[in-house]
């Protein structure tokens, strides 16, 4: 039953040693700022680098008002289903622009997570595991950053664009804070990336030159992965300061800003595109709030009305830029909403038969996986849960989710070994 540990292979260690070796030489020669962002030579690599874009529809998006409409049924609600760019596949009329992008996307309509609690549902969907008091598991962003993000370049591998608040999320569990989400509260750049006035540019350069000189003397005695990581973190900091513009969405063209819309979600989507283009591995955009216990239909009309256009725009843009083959897109929630419409015209929490949207990377374009029954009250074909989806996200971007991470000598399976990939969803 013992597995090979994905990240302890000799190849990996060699590559790392070589990389760090090259870094040290480059650092010595060029004063540590050897290469901002990607060195030109690795542009091709950068193009092949896999990325993940997750839309978190916080509160619980209704599958019936989005990916699995049931018009003209007692549970279907007032909206129509419209045809999409994939013949035979219909989605809710609230998503007309997304419908035109359907040939680039895929729907899983048979999600059954059996969980109707916001916190637990979100945990399951983000970690691919059930929450247990005995252990914490890293969120998909931390896993993606650990497995996919390049070590060079100084850019964070895991960014979450949220409504407010900055800093570092506590979501990497045993992978460690290095892979935790960097929070860009309402699109603000990371903290402490601006040099204070008390330290002039020259003083900053000189103090760093002194720091390097002290380091070089010490490291000539003993260099380890730890010392490399430590000294490199200062170079990364310098690189981040130099590349602060990456985080500034206003540097995008006026035309693009207008195209995405000037509201928060529009700006956040454009920022997401900018970050992905600049080489960030994992970007998560939150859209809130879909917890529609009352007035479900009015709320979805409003919320999806905001979502449809910028979402379809970023899908189209990623495709036009040739990035869709390397970028996985996921639209998920903590759960779906009840087929039953309550007396407040609302729908309640529902984890038993709902949908997740995917696209890009190895995801089969235009695929529809699984089925719910006539009224959407149960899954009738190809039931899957958070565990299957988690394996699928990772394998879509080329990570062998059946392997293990080696966490300082502790082997830990990357995804739940009791679950497996949705094979037919991947090409």
């Amino acid at each position: 039953m013992r597995c090979d540990y994905a990240c302890r292979s000799n190849d990996h260690q060699m590559a790392r040693r070589q990389f760090l070796g090259a870094l040290a030489t480059g650092g010595a020669a060029l004063g540590g700022l050897s290469a901002l962002a990607r060195p030109a030579a690795s542009a091709e690599l950068a193009k092949q680098q896999k990325r993940v874009l997750v839309f978190n529809m916080a509160g619980g998006l209704s599958q019936l008002e989005s990916w699995d409409p049931k018009p003209n049924t007692p549970t279907g609600g007032p909206f129509r289903a419209i045809p999409t760019s994939v013949p035979g596949v219909h989605i809710c009329e609230l998503l007309p622009e997304t419908a035109k992008q359907m040939h680039r996307l895929a729907i899983v309509r048979s999600v059954n997570t059996k969980e109707g609690d916001h916190g637990k549902g979100a945990y399951m969907m983000m970690t691919g595991r059930k929450q247990t008091p005995a252990a914490d598991f890293p969120r998909i962003g931390a896993v993606a950053a650990k497995a996919l993000a390049p070590d060079e370049g100084g850019l964070p591998g895991h960014i979450q664009i949220t409504a407010g608040g900055g800093g570092r999320a506590n979501d990497a569990a045993y992978l460690g804070p290095k892979y935790a989400g960097l929070l860009m509260g309402n699109g603000q750049p990371p903290q402490n990336t601006a040099r204070p006035d008390a330290i002039t540019q020259i003083a900053d350069e000189q103090r760093n030159a002194m720091r390097r000189a002290v380091n070089d003397r010490f490291l000539s005695r003993r260099r380890t992965a730890m010392t490399d990581a430590y000294t490199y973190s200062y170079e990364q900091a310098q690189q981040l300061m130099a590349q602060r513009e990456i985080f500034d969405v206003t540097k995008e063209s006026e035309q693009d800003q207008a195209r995405y819309g000037k509201h928060d979600l529009g700006r956040h989507c454009l920022l997401a595109r900018r970050l992905l283009e600049k080489g960030i591995t994992y970007v998560q955009v939150s859209h809130s709030n879909y917890d529609t216990h009352n007035e479900n239909f009015n709320f979805h009309l409003e919320q999806l009305g905001e979502f449809d256009h910028p979402f379809a725009t970023i899908v189209g843009d990623l495709a036009d830029r040739g990035m869709l083959e390397s970028t996985l897109i996921v639209v998920l929630s903590e759960f779906g909403r009840t087929p039953n419409i309550n007396h407040l015209f609302g729908r309640d929490h529902w984890g038993n038969a709902w949908s997740v949207l995917l696209g890009g990377a190895r995801v089969h374009p235009g695929a529809v996986i699984g089925k719910t029954n006539e009224h959407g009250t149960a899954v009738v074909d190809r039931e899957v849960d958070h565990g299957h989806l988690f394996h699928t996200y990772l394998q879509a971007v080329g990570v062998d989710s059946t392997k293990s991470f080696d966490i300082d000598g502790r082997p830990i399976p990357i995804a739940d070994p009791a679950a497996s990939v949705i094979k037919e969803l991947l090409v």
Binding site: K178, P196, Y234, A237
Partner: protein, 950 residues
């Protein structure tokens, strides 16, 4: 030779497996014996010992979590006494910072920076500080932590371990397994561990069974939480992989399920559960855990703490990670771990003693500088390999064999369990009947209690009325004719009668209810008998299960020990092979390096050949040029002769024509004298002219021959030149080939050199694991924060104020003559200073600490840490305005300044190069000395040398 080595190795392997008592080296202190074990089982070379400055910084950080001041450093470095290291260790162990530092270490180790829930961290740390102050034995400390329920104020903080995990049984089970037994069984919660062969779901649930009856009880009145325990609650599990299921009694890892007393339902509590009552069972499984773990005999409990204390000072556990003890992850030095463990237990879990012994070892004092040349070890490795390989094959065979036995006994155990199931079910049924029978008893008891409450209320009312009636009777005597008074007397009398009647009714109800209770109780007692009998039957019927389980444990432990022996041997083989691999890499690199010179020689020879040929080509070219010139001359000569000949021949032709025409005229004018004379003259002239032309014709022939001759020579020479040029090209191609060969051999040498570097890197890693060279370890967030504050001089200025505060409660005058009191006062002072800086430390903890609830030893570095230090303001502010900057700012002599700077921050004197560097920095920017000093301090504080403990 080989066979003797093999025997030695065998002995070592055996030695490591069969626990040896302290008999072997009874006379020597532990640290010497440890060094002998560690050093004798090395495959590779040993690093030299650290110098005084390195030892000083290391010992300070490891024992008191701080760095020395520049003055302390100077004193130690200049102290000539040979035993100054030992004296330093004793001084540090007696320091007031020792308990503070150890309390922090144990807090982080046991709580992993979880947020406070029921017991505040300062109280918990104070408890731990007191433990280290009194040098509380570890077994006692662990017993308190595992067993405290939080009700005894003295031991309340000890309950933090479970309380702040909300006594959630999975959380508790995992962390008890990790922290007290060194086994992270979390992945064995839903099935046998998928990656670690020897962690079973049964191990997990065995621990779980000790803990799943414990829960948090919140006392509404006190608004405080305590641990409570129920008297029942099963630990059942089913594997999601195999479907195997069991219901287990408590079981420590590697041990059998324990036998437990049985109390009948209704007789099982000291304090029975009730609303807002903390239940206390007669038999506490958690207390049993505390007892069994800490009674001195649990091997895994003892190994765990010995290994953890080793890791604390050595920077790496003999077993690493410290919570993954299992046969595939053997100790780096099995015999050393065995010895430390046994001696620690023999010394009654005396932690201060063990820490002292550990830091006195040479192993602790090894330098971070890897040894240079392992050539002798590489040479010694090869002959050992065959024997080790053979032994490994044998041990694998043994382990495979015991694995088969495990499989067999597993089947037996499963069968026995299946056979036991109906009996167990029957017993559970009778227990359920008891529970059913107990319900009316509880209901009846509740009813009696309720009635008794009512009766008490009535009685109180009656008592009051009785008093009022007596008073009103007195009033009636005084006022016999008062109607109102008479009416009152009547009312009271009536009420007395009514209440008395009501009370009697309640009493009757109570009597009835008591009877009902007794009846129910009797029924319950009736139900006891079948349950007792069924239990007895179950105990009897379980015997085959217990026997099978006992046999399983025995076989399983044997198998684990076989697997461990095989892994140890494999690690030894790996070690030998990495040394051999390094030797091969060195040889390959040397060969590759050696191939360069011959290739270069060949290149030189080829180049010389080209040079030589070049001369030949040049010579031939010159000759060709010469003959080409001759050819031109000859051609010219020939052409001239041809022209002369042609001219003469023309004249001869003209004369002949003239003769012929004149003869024709004579025939028309025969005898014309003048014509005859002309003819005669022409004919006279013709003869010499023909002769002359003939001469010229001959000259043409001669020159033509000459020209042809030269042309032929020229063709020959050109051919020679062409051949020489071809040869030249060939030779030049050889040079190109040889140049490529040289480049190839250089590239090859570089590649093999890289392989050497890589192989050496792996060796250094292996030596580090083997404790042959000191590992670098990070400063914990607290150590880093404290050391930064110390170095920049943020703490010292606070001391007088803190001292004044302490003076209010403990005047210095009162402690002067009592060392114990002096120390106690110092501890108070240090704790207060520590508390006052908790806010500062917390910033470092949030920046540099791992996530809550995760192992805290793993290192990571992120740019946001560097950005905080560079731009966040705090550290730069300390560097600019701390006492260090103030102290060195006025120093005129750059050398003195550099000395104080380096001693204060890096605990060593600067080298000459470093003094020069500081001097130059100061000289280059004399106008902005404060900025230079600020940035010098910043650069040293952010250096890797500062960030790591080395």
């Amino acid at each position: 030779m080989t066979s003797r080595l093999t025997k030695t190795l065998l002995f070592l392997a055996l030695f490591s497996l069969l626990a040896t008592g302290p008999v072997a080296f009874a006379q020597e202190p532990l640290h010497l014996r440890l060094d002998q074990l560690v050093e004798s089982s090395q495959i590779g070379p040993l690093a030299p010992l650290a110098n005084d400055a390195e030892f000083l910084r290391r010992a300070y950080l490891d024992l008191i979590g701080a760095i020395p001041s520049s003055a302390e450093a100077r004193t130690f470095l200049d102290d000539p006494s040979p035993n100054k290291r030992e004296l330093l260790v004793d001084r540090l162990l007696a320091s007031p910072r020792f308990p503070i530092h150890m309390a922090t270490q144990f807090d982080v180790m046991l709580m992993e920076r979880r947020p406070d829930k029921h017991v505040p961290t300062p109280e918990w740390q104070k408890y731990l500080q007191a433990a280290f102050e009194q040098n509380k034995p570890y077994d006692q400390l662990a017993r308190e932590i595992l067993s405290s329920d939080g009700t005894d104020p003295a031991l309340r903080p000890a309950a933090k371990f479970f309380l702040d995990r909300d006594a959630e049984p999975h959380s508790s089970s995992r962390d008890v397994g990790r922290m007290f037994f060194g086994m992270d069984l979390q992945c064995a919660q839903c099935h046998d561990h998928p990656l670690i062969d020897h962690y079973l779901q049964a191990d997990y649930y065995g621990l779980f069974a000790f803990l799943n009856r414990t829960e948090v009880f919140t006392d509404a009145a006190q608004k405080k939480s305590f641990l409570a325990e129920k008297a029942d609650g099963d630990a059942s599990y089913k594997s999601v992989f195999t479907g195997d299921a069991a219901n287990t009694r408590p079981q420590l890892p590697g041990m059998s399920e324990i036998d437990e007393p049985r109390f009948r339902l209704g007789e099982d509590y000291v304090t029975a559960p009730a609303p807002n009552v903390r239940p206390v069972p007669k038999y506490s499984r958690r207390a049993k855990l505390a007892e069994l773990a800490t009674n001195g005999t649990n091997r895994q409990f003892n190994l765990n703490i010995a290994n953890r204390l080793w890791a604390l000072v050595m920077g790496r556990g003999l077993v690493h990670p410290v919570d993954l003890h299992h046969p595939a992850n053997p100790p780096a030095h099995p015999a050393a771990l065995e010895l430390v463990t046994n001696e620690f237990v023999a010394q009654k879990y005396n932690m201060k003693w063990l820490l002292r012994e550990l830091v006195l070892t040479r192993t602790y004092q090894r330098s971070i500088d890897p040894p240079t040349d392992p050539a002798p070890q590489v040479a010694a490795a090869a002959p050992q390999v065959p024997a080790v390989e053979a032994e490994l094959a044998r041990l694998k065979g043994v382990a495979d064999e015991s694995q088969k036995q495990v499989t067999a006994i597993r089947t037996e155990l499963k069968a026995a369990r299946t056979a036991f199931e109906p009996v167990e079910a029957a017993w559970k049924k009778t227990e359920a009947a008891v529970a059913e029978a107990k319900k009316p008893v509880d209901a009846a008891a509740a009813a009696v209690a309720k009635s008794q409450g009512e009766a008490a209320t009535k009685q109180a009312g009656l008592n009051t009325i009785n008093e009022a009636a007596a008073k009103s009777a007195e009033a009636a005597k005084v006022l016999p004719n008062d109607k109102d008074v008479a009416a009152a007397v009547a009312t009271f009398t009536a009420k007395q009668q009514q209440l008395t009647a009501e009370l009697a009714a309640i009493q009757k109800t109570i009597t009835d209810q008591t009877a009902a209770h007794q009846a129910a109780q009797a029924k319950l007692v009736e139900a006891y008998a079948p349950a007792d009998a069924a239990y007895a039957a179950a105990v009897e019927a379980r015997k085959p299960v217990d026997a099978a389980k006992a046999k399983f444990i025995e076989v399983w432990n044997q198998h684990k020990s076989d697997a461990l022996a095989a892994t140890i041997q494999r690690k030894r083989l790996d070690g030998l092979q990495s040394h051999l691999g390094f030797g091969t890499a060195i040889a390959t690199a040397a060969a590759a390096q050696g191939a360069i010179d011959p290739a270069k020689a060949e290149l030189a020879a080829a180049a010389l050949a080209v040079e030589q040929q070049q001369a030949e080509v040049t010579k031939q070219t010159v000759a060709v040029t010469e003959i080409e010139k001759a050819m031109v001359e000859a051609t010219k000569q020939l052409e001239e002769a041809k022209v002369q000949f042609t001219t003469k021949q023309g004249i001869v032709q003209s004369v002949a024509e003239a003769i012929s025409k004149t003869d024709a005229a004579l025939q028309k004018l025969p005898g014309d004298a003048e014509l005859t004379l002309v003819v005669q003259k022409l004919k006279d002239r013709q003869e010499p002219l023909v002769k002359e032309a003939s001469t010229f014709e001959q000259a043409v022939t001669v020159r033509d021959t000459t020209a042809k001759d030269v042309a032929s020579k020229m063709a020959g020479m050109k051919q020679t030149l062409a051949a020489a040029t071809t040869e030249m090209t060939t030779r030049q191609q050889t040079v190109t080939a040889k140049t490529n060969a040289v480049n190839q051999s250089i590239a090859n040498a570089q590649a093999t050199q890289a392989a050497v570097v890589s192989a050496r890197g792996q060796l250094v890693d292996a030596w580090t694991v083997a404790a042959a060279v000191r590992p670098l370890k990070q400063l914990s967030p607290e150590q880093l924060g404290w050391a930064v504050m110390q170095a920049t001089g943020v703490l010292e200025p606070q001391r007088p104020g803190v001292d004044a505060e302490i003076e209010k409660t403990i005047p210095k005058a009162g402690t002067a003559n009592d060392p114990a009191k002096t120390l106690a006062r110092e501890i108070q002072l240090e704790s207060l200073l520590h508390e006052k800086n908790r806010g500062n430390l917390n910033v470092f903890v949030s920046m540099y600490g791992q996530s809550a609830g995760q192992p805290q030893d793993d290192f990571f570095a992120t740019p946001d840490q560097a950005l905080y230090v560079a731009n966040g303001g705090t550290v730069v502010g300390w560097a600019a305005g701390g006492q260090l900057a103030q102290r060195i700012g006025p120093l005129e002599d750059p050398k003195t300044l550099a000395d104080e700077l380096y001693l204060s921050i890096l605990t060593r004197r600067p080298t000459d190069a470093e003094i020069t560097e500081v001097t130059q920095q100061l000289a280059a920017r004399t106008a902005e000395k404060p900025v230079v000093i600020r940035d010098l301090i910043w650069a040293l504080v952010t250096s890797a040398e500062f960030r790591f403990n080395h």
